[in-house]
Structures are given as C-alpha cells and as structure tokens.
C-alpha cells in the first residue's frame, strides 16, 4: 500500500564565517589551520575579567549581506547572550543576537527547473564562533579554542523550501552571493560555511508538523542526502501512525547516516538577555549608504547584463557568472575588443578544462583577475611563473579569430602559457612558428597535389561522400606541416572538386 503523500517544509540556518582579519570581539588573527591554541587572547578564551569589543568591519560585512538580500537593516541591533554549557564555548555563553537582529525580512532568488523561486529570509545576525572539539586518544575529547570569536553571520530562511534540490540550490545561491560580496569564502569542507536544516512534513494543506533539526552537514551533497534521509524517516513514522519527536540529528559524514543527539544534555533554555558588555548598535543612514555604494553587481544582475547586452545564452551567462573572478576575468578580456561569444567559449571550454585539471586557478593581484599557473612538480612555482593575464588570453582568442593561426594552434599556445606562463600571444605565435599559411596560391598548390595523389577519394567525393572533404584537408595539413589554414583549405578543396 503506497505511503500517504506529504509536503516537505524546510528552513535553512546558514552560518558563514566572515573574512575579517581579526576576530569579532578581539584583535586575534582570524586564521584557519593555525597550530592549536595559538590564536587566542583573554577575550576569546573567556578568561575572568576579559571584555568584548565589536569589530566594525564585521558589522559592515553583515550590513552588506543584508543589503544584497534586500533586507531591512535594523536601526538598532542588540547583542544578546545565549547561555549553554559546552566545552568548545569558553564563557559557556555565546555572544549572539536575539530579538533585535541586524537585518530582517529579505529574500534570495534563484532558478529551479525553469522557474524563478524566491525564498524569504527571516533575519541575518552577527555572532561569534565557538572552538573545535576533536576526539582524544583515550576516549576523552580535546579542545582547540583558535576558532573562538571568529565572526559569523547567521542567515535564517523562512520555512519555504520544499525539496532537497531546492535546499541545495538555495545554498549554492547563498554561497555565490557571499563570495561575490567578498565576505566569506564559502568553503563547507573547511567549515567557513555551515548549514543546519529544520524539516517537517505535513499533509498538503494541513497544519505544520513537528520539526526536527539536522546539524553537521558538511557539503552540498550531504545537505541533499541528509534531507532525503530525514524525509524518509519522518514519512515512515507518520505513515505508520507514529508521532515525530522534536530531536536534533547529527549527520555522520563517514557513515552517511543520521544520529540523534542526546536530548538530555541539551536543555534548550538559552536564557537570552541583552549583552551588558556591549552597547546597542545604532546603524545610521550614513553607514548603510556607505555599504550600498560598496555593493558589487550581484550575480543575477550580471547574468542578465551578459544575456541582454553581450548576447550570451542563459546557460553561458550563468556559467561565467557562477564565480565573480571568472566573470571579472571574462570582462577584462573583453576590453581588448573581441567577440563576447568567442571569448566565452574559450573560457568555458579550454580554460575550465585546465582549471579542472588543476593546472591553473583563477586569482587576483591587486584586484585584477588573472589565471595563476600551478606546476605540480615545482611547489611555489605559481610565484615564479608569470600568470596569464586577461590581455594575454584575449590575445590568443584574437589571433585565432583573425585567422593568423588555426584554432588548434591557438590551443597549443594556450597550453604553452599554462606550462610556462602568460605573455603576448604574438610572441608565442612567432616562437612556436604557428603562423598559419593563408596565402591562396600556396594553398591551391597543396590542394592540387592532394587531389592528384588520391583519385579514389576524389571519385567517392564526387559520388556523394562529401565528408571526405576532411580527408583532403588533412592531406594538405600533412603536406604543410600543419601550417595550412584549414578553413580556407576546405573552401579551396570544395571549389576544386565541385567546380
């Protein structure tokens, strides 16, 4: 008998680590991967007598995210203590925000299966991260407080997400936005982006069901999987007439399963009260205007501009805009005046192939986007090998587009740049001797030789096998040691064979 159909109701709580230099309430460096317990001070260690002082830059970044998600920036934000005991929490309270968050009532939009979906945001607020617990050898646990005090923004969606796919797309979009704003690097594996899921099932049109929470989802895949598991689990219980308990589940990434947290240890009365060590934060109009001026062109707008002004397809626009540095590189390259479609193709095909192979990586120097060359045999070689600048790359596109060289020769030049560094394309054309022969006289001579040497193929071509054009072009390429312009050659062969 088929199980009753349920509607899934999902809300996501995303924690994003902000890329400030120092922590949110103290001047310790906010660095990933440092030696344990070396990046702490009395404040983030929660020593007796220490006091928090708010990092202005963290607030600016939070405001930026609020503006980018169309939130209302609260005129007064109030920090609050969230009280609970846990070893990674040195004060046994976390400084967060409660009923007066920094941003409220925004939204995030994305495309899903051809439709535009809009998910509302409940709020965005600023808070401090906790330390890290690792399992000790003897069964105990070990605490590293380095991460304590790193600034986080918590982005809470309204429970409007309906499926695992939608949750994933929401998360992808959120991450893209954070990276566009340069406020978070969105690395789920390293924990700079974390996602907790609240999920409940209900009969279509019925009342909201009891929600459960899933924590510790450390990848996009895990988010989708974890949600699917939980939907199945809840559906199974409801389907057999049971009741859902309000539990928190931990995602076990090693075993790909859900584990229930022991609810006894977590009496969820956080006893929030306003943080007396921090004054209320009055974000004035000036500050908001300053941050509005700092907003970059957001992904959706940029994609639209690529479609409307540059004539790119929706697919191409979305691929190029997925990462801001790629889109920036693309637009820098365009400044040399080449055809946007050609430049786009080159990036999406040739550049991306090399990026995926780990040979080059998009980066920036002084804000200028470029491609850094990675040499697997020479660590640190990225420093010595000159990067491929947008201009160099545009040069390759151009010398192919204006027929100075063939497209395969173009690929050869790009490969050479990927090995030994960027430079003006013309230099490579010369040094590699790739200038293709486009003189019709020379080409005609080779074509006639090729035709004369292969009478059978001529006959079959004339009988209808026109794909043999490629054979003749190939013969000419052999004779010319690859220098013949294949396109022109093909035209000449056609003319000679068809008369």
């Amino acid at each position: 008998m088929p199980a009753p159909r349920f509607e899934t109701v999902i809300g996501l709580e995303v924690h994003a680590q902000l890329v400030t230099k120092s922590k949110v309430f103290c001047s310790c460096p906010s660095i990933y991967g440092a030696e344990p317990n070396t990046m702490v001070c009395p404040v983030c260690l929660g020593l007796p007598g220490a006091l928090p002082v708010l990092n202005r830059e963290a607030v600016s970044m939070a405001i930026l995210m609020g503006l980018a998600t169309h939130c209302r920036i609260a005129p007064r934000g109030v920090f609050a203590r969230k009280n609970y005991f846990y070893p990674d929490c040195p004060k046994n309270y976390q400084i967060s925000m409660y009923d007066k968050p920094l941003c409220e009532e925004g939204f995030i939009e994305f495309e899903l299966e051809g439709e535009t979906r809009r998910i509302s945001l409940e709020r965005i607020h600023l808070e401090e991260d906790a330390g890290k617990l690792v399992h000790g050898g003897d069964g105990g646990s070990l605490v590293d407080f380095n991460r304590c005090g790193v600034p986080l923004i918590e982005i809470v969606s309204k429970p409007e997400i309906c499926s695992p796919e939608e949750a994933s797309k929401y998360l992808v979009t959120l991450r893209q936005l954070l990276r566009y704003l340069d406020i978070c690097d969105g690395n789920m594996e390293e924990g700079s982006l974390r996602c907790d899921v609240n999920i409940s099932l209900r009969k279509p049109g019925g009342a909201l069901g009891t929600k459960t929470e899933i924590k510790n989802l450390n990848s996009f895949k895990a988010v989708e999987m974890g949600i699917r598991f939980e939907i199945e689990r809840q559906a199974g219980i409801l389907g057999s007439g049971g009741r859902i308990e309000q539990v928190t589940n931990l995602w076990d990434s090693a075993q790909k399963r859900l584990l229930t947290m022991r609810s006894k240890e977590y009496a969820h009365d956080y006893r929030y009260f306003p943080e007396p060590d921090l004054l209320p934060l009055d974000v004035g109009v000036e500050w908001i205007e300053q941050m509005e001026a700092k907003l970059p062109e957001l992904p959706l707008e940029r994609e639209k501009r690529f479609r409307d002004k540059l004539g790119l397809s929706a697919y191409d626009a979305s691929v190029l805009c997925a990462e801001k540095v790629v889109a920036d590189f693309f637009e820098e390259a365009l400044k040399s005046g080449d055809d946007p479609k050609q430049v786009a193709n080159w990036i999406m095909r040739d550049v991306m192939e090399k990026v995926n192979a780990g040979q080059i990586v998009f980066g920036r120097v002084n804000g200028t986007p470029l491609l850094r060359v990675i040499s697997p045999t020479q660590p640190g070689a990225a420093e010595i090998i000159p990067p491929i600048e947008p201009g160099h790359f545009a040069g390759v596109v151009r010398v192919v587009a204006n027929n100075t060289i063939s497209s395969s020769a173009g690929r050869e030049i790009f490969n050479a740049m990927v090995k030994s560094g960027g430079g003006p394309a013309e230099k490579y054309v010369e040094s590699l001797g790739l200038k293709q022969e486009s003189d019709s006289g020379a080409l005609e001579k080779w074509v006639e030789e090729a035709i004369a040497a292969s009478p059978d193929e001529v006959a079959r071509y004339k009988a209808g096998k026109t794909q043999l054009l490629g054979f003749f072009v190939g013969q000419v390429m052999k004779k010319s040691a690859g220098k013949a312009n294949p396109k022109l050659t093909g035209e000449i062969v056609k003319k000679k064979l068809e008369g």
């Binding site: 400030t20 230099k21 120092s22 001047s27 310790c28 460096p29 030696e35 344990p36 317990n37 070396t38 990046m39 702490v40 001070c41 009395p42 260690l45 002082v53 708010l54 990092n55 202005r56 830059e57 963290a58 607030v59 009280n83 005991f85 846990y86 070893p87 046994n92 617990l133 690792v134 000790g136 069964g139 105990g140 646990s141 070990l142 605490v143 590293d144 407080f145 689990r233 589940n249 931990l250 399963r257 859900l258 584990l259 229930t260 947290m261 022991r262 009496a267 009365d269 006893r271 306003p274 921090l278 004054l279 209320p280 934060l281 009055d282």
Partner: protein, 99 residues
C-alpha cells in the same frame, strides 16, 4: 511560593550547580523567600524608557579590523587543569545515539 523538586532540579541542570543534602533544602527555602521578595516589582507600573539609560547615551565603541599579538601557548595552556599536548582535555563528549 514553593519551589518544586522538578523546578529546583531544572535550575540546577541549567546552571550546572549541584546541591546536596541539607544544603539543598536550606538553599531551596532561601531561594523561595528571595523569589517572593523580588516579586514585589510586578506591582510597579512601568512604562518603558530605554533600559540602557544608565549608559549616558554615547555611541557603541567599535574596533578597527586590525590584529594584535595573541597569548603564547604556554600562557594559554599553562593553567589548564588537564593539558593534552596542545589541547585542553575534557571528559568524553558523547553527542549522539544512532537513529
């Protein structure tokens, strides 16, 4: 106003403060008296002024995003009741049961 065993236990759990025996009963009685005493506030008519009025109305102090030297690892771990090399050791934190 009586503080039930459950209520007292709940408070103890939230506060992670353990009371035992005679001391516990004495404390319960004293707590009850104090709670009764502070209840008198509820009869006061209050219209909200800013609860932060004692602060003098100046603006929130903010820091610029600059780093300063941290404590040395010795300073951090030196006072640790249980030190495990570069970490603080704690009894096992058992989080979850299998679903």
């Amino acid at each position: 106003m009586a503080l039930t065993d459950d209520e007292l236990e709940h408070l103890e759990r939230l506060a992670r403060v353990e009371l035992t025996g005679e001391s516990r009963e004495k404390l319960r009685g004293q707590l009850e008296r104090i709670i009764e005493f502070v209840k008198q506030l509820q009869s006061i008519d209050t219209t909200g002024c800013d609860p932060r009025a004692y602060l003098g109305g100046f603006e929130a102090a903010l820091r610029s995003d600059e780093t300063k030297p941290c404590l040395s690892r010795e300073e951090v771990l030196g006072a640790a009741p249980q030190r495990e090399k570069e970490f603080f050791g704690v009894p096992p934190v058992i989080e979850a049961d299998e679903l």
